[in-house]
Point group: C2
Chain length 213, copies 2
């Protein structure tokens, strides 16, 4: 095994360190966040730090970097209280990555990247037409993280849109069938292959396979 101490990591060049640290927690739920500004201009940005908070009430969070580094999405959410999260499929991964470019606030990233906005009833924010799994959220709370001035943005799900045929008998959404991708580090994108699903684990009883993926 190679060992890296925090003192060694702190001494690295910031790009090298960012690549290393952003890869360290493994594969992430990368998605496109859709918002709209107060004057109605659509915004689209790629985020990989998305997290399940709870199923009852249905809450999903994401980490927004310090506002000066990543201002548009969070400002739009503060103003309009609504946003969308859209899974990425391989057919538009290059366009999705391009949305990470630092466009000015008035630039519509849908136009810039060639992705298609679609508006649904009771949601001001645009969804990505190309995405096979997408959901709309209502802002619940922005929790400040004082240690690095980032924020945990918590939303309650209001809408879910799925391609036909993805929901299994027990409610599991087959994101593998939808070809949803996952990301690693800042710029690596991956498809997945099923290993297996397992039965509910109990003490004293060996884990049993529910199915192969």
């Amino acid at each position: 095994m190679q060992y890296f101490s925090i003192d060694e990591i702190k001494g690295w060049d910031r790009f090298y360190r960012a690549n290393f640290i952003n890869s360290l927690q493994g594969f992430k739920p990368v998605s496109l966040l859709g918002t709209v500004s107060e004057n109605g201009s659509p915004n689209l940005a790629i985020f990989s730090n998305i997290i399940h908070i709870g199923a009852d009430p249905v809450l999903i969070g994401f980490i927004n970097r310090p506002v000066e580094a990543a201002p548009h999405t969070i400002q739009n959410i503060e103003l309009t209280k609504q946003y969308t999260i859209n899974h990425i499929q391989p057919s538009f991964v290059a366009a999705a990555h391009q949305s990470s470019a630092k466009y000015p606030a008035d630039q519509n990233e849908f136009t810039a990247t060639g992705l298609t906005p679609v508006f649904e009833e009771n949601c001001k924010a645009p969804f990505v037409a190309e995405s096979a799994i997408k959901y709309g959220l209502q802002l619940v709370e922005i929790v400040p993280i004082t240690h690095n001035r980032s924020s945990l943005v918590i939303g309650a799900i209001t809408h879910v849109f799925l391609e036909e045929g993805l929901v299994k008998q027990d409610g599991f959404i087959d994101a593998y069938k939808a070809k949803t991708i996952t990301s690693l580090g800042i710029d690596g994108y991956y498809s997945t292959e099923p290993i297996s699903r397992f039965d509910y684990a109990k003490p004293g009883k060996a884990t049993t396979k529910l199915s192969d993926g």
Copy 2:
């Protein structure tokens, strides 16, 4: 597209809803969290809600469910201030899943699942010997999430251990080469396949591939 309103989702049976909602944000960085109780008993538990918070300072968070539903890991972290996060490889995915069983507090999940604890200098918590990518953390803050009584546990990285040959020239950690798995929903586990890495995106310039994975 199939549409699901939040009112429809709220009406579902809680297991069906939990499967659906836990799948919705896509593929997650599933890992094993190692802790030790005040009297020195090792604890191991599987978590998929792990999130990058920042690279400077190096902060990683995870969501702990309400304490009464998932007490041991968070109580050990509050007492000892240290914990480890260990990637999962396919060779021990069944043992890793088995650690989700509700064992009593004094049951050592390493013994119960057959995984091997390993202790390193300046870290009270055990690492998982079988894991190819693992890191130790010092507790920074437990942020309460009032809406569902879960918590965002924030830690600063203190140690990183990697199998030889995983760090690329730019600091990127090749978790694909390490065979790190990702999870979907509550009980689905997946391997990955590289799509590509992309260059730093700039406005007005098409995204270019850096490499195929």
